[in-house]
Structure formats: structure tokens, C-alpha cells
């Protein structure tokens, strides 16, 4: 059982993501370009999941995008969230008609199979997206804190700094890091997505199940990922499948 520090160090939070960014990729953009076939380079969609190297944890060949249908699980919930500049928005407005990969985290999570896994996977996707700049018009990443008391606006802003200050950010997918005013306003989002967060005990402990959610342009949850399936090849294969579905493929 892990204890949560009572005060968040924004410096530490930013350092966490910096660390993730520094360590996450074992491939180089040049490697990525080498993987792209000429045909793939003409289409921004087909090679996207293929740019990720096979991880030993995922011992399978990912299914071909578009060769399967994605279910419609349920509508994504709506509710008030706060952005890194302190502005308040309704979550649905921030979806902005894009395909969105949503994850719930808390910034001080140190469990290797928890939030850092989500961070590093999202970073892999974010970094690779620089090679496919057109994709940012259709797809975005979204991270919502489930620890609003500690993950303040200042904390999420500091956490996001390595992304927002990235010189190549204009080419990459938008990555919105959000928090909420309090746990009362957060709860409908957790309930609506089905993200279990267990708070309790005298030590102010938080435990959670690692989940990621694929939300389509209409705000419908189209897939739910748990540990063992947080594979960027699957995630982006599903994004491609949604894009192909829109094209009537």
C-alpha cells in the first residue's frame, strides 16, 4: 500500500515526465523513417501502428487496422475540467471533434505498472506523431488527474511543460493534461468512464486500475484498455481503424 505525499512538488512532477521522455523511446526518428515503406509514406494512416517496435511484453502481431470493427461501449461522460492555464471547460468541448485517447493518472504515482506506464506509452505515441503531422487534425491525447487536491493547476502546468515547450510540438498530437476543481466534480467523470479509484484509510491512500479509453469523434467510447493491452501498436491500430471506418473502408 503506497502513501501519497501530502504536498506535490511541481518540480518533481515535471521531472517525472522529463524522465519518461528521456527514457521512453529506444528508436530514433531515422529508424522510424527507415521502417516506412514508400507506399506508407504516401499515406499517413497505414504505417502508424507499424512504427512502434515490438515489445517483448506484447507477444503478438497486432491485427491489421480496418480488418475489424470497434464496438460502441457507451458515451463518454461530460463534466467540468480545468486546463493548465486555469480555464474551466466542459470535457465534451475539449474533445473538439477529434479521436481522443483518454487516460486517468495522478502525477505522483510511482507504481511501475500504473501511471508511469500510461505516461510512457502516451509519450511514445506523442513522439512518433511528429512523423505524421497531419494526424494532429484528427487525433489527440488527454490525461485527466484523479487527484485534484494535489494535482493543482500549477502542478499539471509544470507536468506538461516538457510537452508544451517541445519545439516540435506544433507537429505532434495535442496532449491535454487536465485536472478538476475537486473530487466532487471529478467523480462523474470517473463513474462515467468506469475508472475505479479507491481512496481510503487513515493514510490518504489512493489505488486504481490502469485504464485507457479510446473516444471517437462523436464522443463514444470505442475501446477500453487494461494492463497487458497498453501497447501503442494496438492503440494506434485502433485509431487507424476508426479513421478507416470514417472513410467507409
Amino acid at each position: 500500500m503506497r502513501k501519497i505525499p501530502m504536498a506535490v512538488s511541481v518540480t518533481c512532477a515535471a521531472a517525472l515526465l522529463s524522465g519518461v521522455m528521456a527514457l521512453a523511446g529506444t528508436w530514433h526518428p531515422a529508424d522510424l523513417l527507415a521502417r516506412l515503406t514508400p507506399a506508407a509514406m504516401r499515406s499517413p494512416l497505414a504505417p502508424f501502428s507499424a512504427v512502434f517496435p515490438t515489445d517483448p511484453a506484447f507477444q503478438f502481431t497486432p491485427p491489421e487496422p480496418g480488418s475489424y470493427a470497434l464496438n460502441r461501449f457507451k458515451p463518454a461522460p461530460n463534466g467540468a475540467v480545468l486546463t493548465t492555464d486555469g480555464s474551466s471547460f466542459q470535457l465534451h468541448d475539449l474533445f473538439d471533434g477529434k479521436i481522443t485517447l483518454v487516460s486517468f493518472v495522478y502525477l505522483t504515482c510511482g507504481d511501475v505498472n500504473g501511471c508511469p506506464l500510461a505516461f510512457s506509452t502516451l509519450y511514445d505515441i506523442h513522439d512518433a506523431s511528429a512523423q505524421l503531422p497531419g494526424l494532429r487534425d484528427d487525433v489527440q491525447l488527454m490525461t485527466i488527474s484523479f487527484d485534484p487536491e494535489r494535482d493543482t493547476i500549477e502542478a499539471i502546468a509544470a507536468f506538461s511543460h516538457p510537452v508544451t515547450s517541445d519545439p516540435a510540438s506544433a507537429l505532434k498530437l495535442d496532449w491535454q493534461v487536465l485536472t478538476t476543481a475537486d473530487t466532487a466534480s471529478l467523480q462523474p467523470l470517473l463513474d462515467g468512464f468506469g475508472q475505479v479509484v479507491d481512496r481510503g484509510g487513515a493514510d490518504d491512500q489512493i489505488s486504481h486500475l490502469l485504464r485507457m479509453y479510446l473516444v471517437d469523434r462523436s464522443g463514444m467510447i470505442r475501446n477500453v484498455y487494461g494492463l497487458g493491452l497498453i501497447d501503442p501498436r494496438l492503440l494506434m491500430g485502433d485509431v487507424e481503424t476508426l479513421l478507416l471506418e470514417e472513410q467507409g473502408a
Binding site: M1, R2, L16, G19, V20, L23, A24, T26, D55, P56, A57, F58, Q59, F60, P62, P63, S67, Y68, N71, R72, F73, K74, C109, D111, V112, N113, G114, C115, P116, L117, F119, S120, T121, D124, G194, V196, D198, R199, G200, G201, Q205, I206, S207, H208, L209, L210, R211, Y213, I221, V224, Y225, G226, L227, G228, L229, I230, L234
Partner: protein, 437 residues
Amino acid sequence: MNRREFGGLTAATALAMAGPFRAFADETCQSPYMPKITGQEEFVYVWTLGVEGMGDEQDKMVTVDLRPGSPTRGEVIHSLSVGGRNEAHHGGFSADRRYFWTGGLDTNRIFIFDIHSDPAAPKLHKVIETFVTDSGGVVGPHTFFALPGSMMITGLSNQDDHGGRTALVEYNDDGDYVATYWMPTADDMQGAVAVDGAVADGYGYDIRALIRKNIMLTSSFTGWSNYMMDFGQMLQDAEAMKRFGNSMVLWDLHTRQPRKVFNVPGAPLEVRFPWGPNANYAFSTTALTSQLWLIYEDDHGEWQAKSVADIGNPEDIPLPVDISIAADDQTLWVNSFMDGKTRLFDISDPHHPSQIYEKTIDRQVNMVSQSWDGKRVYFSSSLLANWDKKGDDDVQYLRAYNWDGKELVEDFNIDFYAAGLGRAHIMRFGSSALYSA
């Protein structure tokens, strides 16, 4: 932190949940997505069939106290009747382990119990009355296998002919219908390939998944017209005896598409994957041919199926039913209904299992559940209302044993008939330690 740093972890660790939801004293063989109980299991939930003329005659969720030192340890501490008899059968927890989904094979009703608000006293949270219409004609909700955000339910039958052709049905965690995936048939293979002349019969029964390989495995049993028939009558009905499944199907977990159909004659029932990081195989047993089957990935990366051992004397038709792999993947409990025996197989070489122990539990036995450390083994008695033995042989119980590595020593025994409860079927463990709130 680097995602790729996790590549070398063991499967069990890699599939552990974030937060405090860690092993290591839980029932084996359930969905790897689920959080595990830390420490001793506190309760066992027994999904129990009502019996006409006994007690309130209704199906019920029975809670037995397993807490060491509790003054009610080994006793029924809660019972929740659900209204009527539904042919209560199997059930499984949701992936967040807050709800216990159970099914009725006859009425097709699905009961979802809240087990986290008060683990000692489950509450009925929701009843799904529309399984058949939701699914497009699937009958007999059987196995409930938790996926992230959803529940995959195997069917046993269909509305058109009440035979064995059936499907997988997916609901989201709110209990809303998501999708139906019909089993492949010889006439519609859905892209699947038949291995060694297998004939896809479209039957279904159990389901398990090996996530790191992105596969699901399903087995096959029989349809409503058989499982609701009197057992003795069915055995004498040559046509009915032809209506059993003879196949297992390998699916793509992510796409829910069938990939391979294996020939596994004689109604393969429970499917169990081990936990080891290099354990690329599963076991099943065949009810009618009394064999232990291995479904495995060969040296060329191809999945195959073969019989690897007999269970008892197949000519006696001991009728293997539930099985349970120990968490260290070294042993396998196999129950056989007709002779009331449990057998322990050494499966350290999965291609050459060998029986190392057996014990008669009673005149009939069906389900087996063992704790994660393998030291506590629980047995229950009922197979199906019309298939359970008759007269004095119809004994209904939950029996707890301690396993010291050599001998099963009885701990306690609850006579479900004497208690007026009914027929004890599937068991699942609970613990308040899973929920801090």
C-alpha cells in the same frame, strides 16, 4: 520510466493491477485483469440452485465466512434469494472486482451482485432480463469472463432450436449490451481455419484469455435441449448424445475474431491457462471421453491441440468437470462428477501430465477452487439440476480442505440440503481488503 522496462517481468506481475491490488493468496484461474486478494480469502460466495420444496425454493447467493478466528468461520453468514429458479450456474467478477455477475441457464436472466459495498453481505445490483433479445437469440449465459470495461459471456444454446450452436456476448460494465460474436460453423468459418480436419460445430461453453499472446480460447458443451433434460433419460437417447460439442476455438482477443478450430471430441469443458511468462498453453478436459487436453503453441508459433492423458478409466465415463491450475503451474486439480473424485496431476511437463494423488470427496462433486498459495481447496457438488444424482447419492455441500502437499485434510463441511439452501454450484472468493472505502 520506460514502458519497455516492463518487458522482462513475469506474466503474473505484469498483469498485476496498479495500486495495492496484488497477489498472492487468491483463487487461481480467473481473469488476469482482476485484482487479487492479498492474504487470506475472507468469504466464499456460492451461487446456489433453488430446489422445489426446500426452503424458499429460490436460487440464491450464499456467503460463507472463511475469516480465521471468526466465531462464524465455516458457517453461512448471508443468503440472498433472487426470485424463482433459473438454473443458477456460473458467474465471474467484473475486472474491477466490485461486482459478481451470475447467470441462469434456463431463464437466461443475469444477476449482478454488488460485493464491494459490504463483502460479507452481497446486494443485488442489477438484473438483466433481455439477454436473449439483446444478443440476437443466444440462450444459456454460462461463463462470465472479465475484460477491461466489459464482460464477455459465453452462451450454451440458441433460441431457434435450443441446440448447441451459440455465441459470445459482450456487455459493458454498466450491464448494457455491446456485441454478439457467433461461434464459427462449418458453413460460416468467419475466416477461421480448421486444424487437422476439425469441424466447427458452433458450440460453446467456457472462455479464457492469454493476454500477452492476444488470444482467447473457447470450448464446447451442449444445448438447452440436453442440459435441461433428465440426465438418465439423455444417456438413453442416442440422438441427444450426438448433440455434444467436439471443438475448441482460438480467437483473436483484440478483434474478437475466430482464428483456428481444433478437433477436441467429447465435450471439452473448462479452459485454464497457467500464469508463467513462458507458459504458452492451456488445459481442458473432455466430459464424455475423459481426457486431459493440451492446447499449445508449437516451436513454429502455431497453436495445436492434443490429448495428453486419461482421467481415470475413460470407459467408466467418470465425467471430468471443473479443473484448477495451481499458481506455480506445477499441478492441476481435476474433479470428476460420476465417481465423486478429485485427482491431482503433475503438469510440470505439460506435454506429459501424470496423476500423483486422488481422493473421493463424496458421491458427486463438481466445482473446485483453490487459494493462490494452494493450501486451501474448496469443493462444491451440483452439476445441473437435472443432472445431479438422485436419492441418497444427491448430496449437496461446500467442503473446505487443507492441502499439505500430500493429503487433503477436511477443514469444514456445510450440508446445503440440511441447511435448506439447495444445490451448491460455483464458488468465488471475496475479501474486504480489496476495498479501502
